[in-house]
Symmetry: D2
Subunit: 344 residues, 4 copies
Amino acid sequence: MKMGIIGATGYGGLELIRLLSSHGQVSDIQLFTSSEEGVLLSSKYPHLTKLYDQPLEAITKEAIAALDVVFFGTPSGVSGQLIPRIYNEKTKFIDLSGDLRLKSQQAYEQWYKKTAAPQELINKSVYGLCGWNDVAIEKAQVIANPGCYPTATLLSLLPLLASELVEHKGIIVDAKSGVSGSGNKPTQMTHFTETTEATTIYKMNAHQHIPEIEQAIKAYTGHVEPITFSTHLVPMIRGIITTSYVQVKENIKLEQLQQCFQEAYASDPFIRFIENADKFSTNQVRGTNFCDITINLDERTNRLTVVAVIDNLVKGAAGQAIQNMNKMMGFEEQEGLKQVPMFI
Amino acid sequence: MKMGIIGATGYGGLELIRLLSSHGQVSDIQLFTSSEEGVLLSSKYPHLTKLYDQPLEAITKEAIAALDVVFFGTPSGVSGQLIPRIYNEKTKFIDLSGDLRLKSQQAYEQWYKKTAAPQELINKSVYGLCGWNDVAIEKAQVIANPGCYPTATLLSLLPLLASELVEHKGIIVDAKSGVSGSGNKPTQMTHFTETTEATTIYKMNAHQHIPEIEQAIKAYTGHVEPITFSTHLVPMIRGIITTSYVQVKENIKLEQLQQCFQEAYASDPFIRFIENADKFSTNQVRGTNFCDITINLDERTNRLTVVAVIDNLVKGAAGQAIQNMNKMMGFEEQEGLKQVPMFI
Amino acid sequence: MKMGIIGATGYGGLELIRLLSSHGQVSDIQLFTSSEEGVLLSSKYPHLTKLYDQPLEAITKEAIAALDVVFFGTPSGVSGQLIPRIYNEKTKFIDLSGDLRLKSQQAYEQWYKKTAAPQELINKSVYGLCGWNDVAIEKAQVIANPGCYPTATLLSLLPLLASELVEHKGIIVDAKSGVSGSGNKPTQMTHFTETTEATTIYKMNAHQHIPEIEQAIKAYTGHVEPITFSTHLVPMIRGIITTSYVQVKENIKLEQLQQCFQEAYASDPFIRFIENADKFSTNQVRGTNFCDITINLDERTNRLTVVAVIDNLVKGAAGQAIQNMNKMMGFEEQEGLKQVPMFI
Amino acid sequence: MKMGIIGATGYGGLELIRLLSSHGQVSDIQLFTSSEEGVLLSSKYPHLTKLYDQPLEAITKEAIAALDVVFFGTPSGVSGQLIPRIYNEKTKFIDLSGDLRLKSQQAYEQWYKKTAAPQELINKSVYGLCGWNDVAIEKAQVIANPGCYPTATLLSLLPLLASELVEHKGIIVDAKSGVSGSGNKPTQMTHFTETTEATTIYKMNAHQHIPEIEQAIKAYTGHVEPITFSTHLVPMIRGIITTSYVQVKENIKLEQLQQCFQEAYASDPFIRFIENADKFSTNQVRGTNFCDITINLDERTNRLTVVAVIDNLVKGAAGQAIQNMNKMMGFEEQEGLKQVPMFI
């Protein structure tokens, strides 16, 4: 199979390269760029020396047509405009950016402050939340790969909401992310000196992942109320932990809540529900496609704390993208994603 | 003035030494230990070479009686038993541990899993939340210095609750702390390798600071409902950020909420209310006694996000202890606490 | 093939599990312990949940005899005493500790301050420095896997010394290591709070890897002079960088030095010589069995700076151990070791 | 006294503000900028809220003439051109950049790749290495404040070289620095994600501090040989550790070497010689003007390891600048520099 990566120099692209290199069905990976044609990727990233010494290629409709699958690791605002110009019916398109996730162009433009993709392309795109949209994913030609925060949030809340064990109203999600989520472009906020001894709250009540989460709650549980969603930057490279607070309905017992998760994810190869956790950390999934989930019921308030951890670059980006590819192409679901977590 | 520190080898003790060394009224600091008598503090902590080369002294009633103020930087379970044995009416006692904070012995034993201090000592102790209990602090002989998490939580929630702009019901506090809050004893949870690329949730719905926060809300606003309170360990040395979620009462506008904070803390030298914050970080108060607060109102849910940042070792421990001493002894409130934050 | 790991709970053991899980020839991994029989490894290390939920087994001669290969991830002082008690002629033994590396019992006891292994066992052990001792490795039954510092130091100095382009006299090696090299036992020196904003020099002129390096220089170049070797702890999990200083012989040009490396390692799948490096970092090999090397000649002093980077847990421990196994068992050399570096 | 800081938004400027705020002789600090006139410093750096809310001022000859002392925290290439345009005989000028350190314009242009300052200004400038040039410093009107690496290197090598206990020939200095030394401008090399799990060697044999160190060795010991000097970036904010290797002359004993340091720095308030150090860390001087030094003699090679640690922003920049000001103005040497190290 021939794969292509557009935006190979970003962190999503780098992670796709890392994971695809262990994928048994991938014979060839082509790396595309809109601005650095001819540059050797290994000259920018010395860790790829002798592994990916090939030059970055220009994006053309013909080059894309020769591929089985093309991934977009581009910043928001790119793929929505680019895909219509290079589209063909034979190649599968998997977009890691936020351009194709929101069904409403207006919502996209409000939250992203950029021009939305054509409505036709949006309509054709399938939201690639593995485990919750698999029938559509298997038949899709264009995948809108979920955001990192939404993946952790949705995987840990949807079972409870879909089974009506908790209230839709009053959901609060307090999320913390490692710095790689901000991408490879140096900024004051990601400057080592100002980041490494700091935890920072940012984009208060304004993060573009809010409408994505709400849209998916509506789609997969039939109903949604506005959520409160906060994002924090913590001084580590990888990892997201979402701590969500939901109100448990009357007369629901802890055992029912635990059983809900066990049933929902019994056959999922990447979601691990852990019943009793003294402590629960992002490094227990580092470098892998796992999403670990635990819950804790406070009997004083009947409020449930729901915690999920993922690696934002894997389950929150490149890993789920490959999982989507596996579903679309009929490969084994775990192919390329069998790593043991790099706990240390 | 002669000061003493019991538990000088812990991080609270080290921080007291650091701050007291710039205090204009302190002529002499004696360092006490229960187990390492005669050891030079600088042999354990080379940063104190030529500054505090004196040997650690044994704790005796006579030695304590010669002091104006004695601070306890001991772990929970020590001061509550020790103070009755070395008590005198002339010396001021300031306890940085949790032993004297909870008015109910039963609550202490339930949350701390240790033997409570004598009720008489508890009754004599004044909760040293500067800005909210100053009249009592000024006359106190024994201070129960507030915990790190409660300090950030209470300073940022009490103005809203006391002025009845927000609901008492349904308060959620999501707190994140640097690792120094866990003290100087090496454990698996504070082992560099397992900590530095991890964010960890721990003690879910079971942290001993929960009853302390609720007791203070009751004391200073006249009413309390059970809160939900979560704690996370993030890979930095110092700093706490509390992100709290409260429901705003009907017809309350953002301007009223902002004004509430500005009025509450207009004359406080250490609390800075920041109206509009793009981002808000623990490092803006690092090394100092400041507590910075900001708020953000989500009009979609009428829920308010209230954020506070402190240095857990200063405003959350040694700094507030010195502020309490200044109030008790009639010194200028900022004496010894005038540092500019070590942003980098 | 059936593999066993003794000392599975240490970081060497964890890393063997991580790497062996992608090894095509490994069907079964048994985990042994001397003290925690019956404990689930995943209960200590949640990242292994659903991957290695099996209980730790007791070490018996019979259990070992059923294995094709057994790895020792134990601290120094264990394998040297244990192997004689469980030895059999059929199983291959690969020791990641320092117990079997030094040919002189007296040197071992002087530098390690522990009882040496029996001389017979030492004699039977083959030093597993891949690329420099391959004939012996392929026929070995017992491998003394090289230390982390010696691996980086030797791979980067041996080509120059063996080809007599530089002086044996006056070699200085300044090494810096991430904290995982200190193992999984919490200590003051690896306590997050005291480690994360510190670079520390330790064991000055007394590190037990000094005699190992000198022994190997003698073995593979025919001559040795005492080296100066310093070790520093830097606040990162993984990675070693060795900066070595050697005197270039007269009339030797930079091109000859570069060619020396290119020839020495032309066919080595894991050693990458990088000719011109603006900067050179440990993260360009993170998580992999690569050793990257670069050099810089100072014409003002005719002194050569030789820099090597490895992942101390992979090329410096578990990775090279598996490479040794591959050589001993006739597997493809890269099997289980094909990861792309986790640059971020 | 009225102080001014030009380049107040850089890390040197921020650190000057932090330290000068506790200086008893400083009544007023004015902040100057060439490009951000009118901007509030606290709007860029929230940690200065309510402390330095004043606007940045334009640099004029008149404004400078009203000051007693003006500090330059500007990048190299600025002060050498700017000072001639704003010079007056009454104000003291202290330049933290490298512009005035090298006596040879040619050397400056070769190593810095920028236009040198006028020779007249260079001649007037006094190298501010406290402890080694004090007579000239006290009478100086313009100070070239030493670089961070040179300060640690020189303070730890000059006593040995001046007393002729070690060879001038063959000196090797292996230096490691925290990231704040790279300044406040975000770059790929200081981007958190690529920095925090990496140790990096950079500018091999090409660092602009090499000629500065050699010039000072010549000036204060009468002789110099080319040194080898390497620089590494380690993932911490503050701190430099220099590990230097020198050849001890024949028949010199360890005790003589130790005594050399004790005598050289007996009366220096900021230099601490520590005789026996198991381990030796940058955090033992963090946030302060201390330079700690230790040595270790390897009897196998008669080579001496000389280790120095400083805080690069304090003793390596702003702190030594204030120490120079104290000497020039006749203030107490420790004024503004009495902080206890922030070990944690």
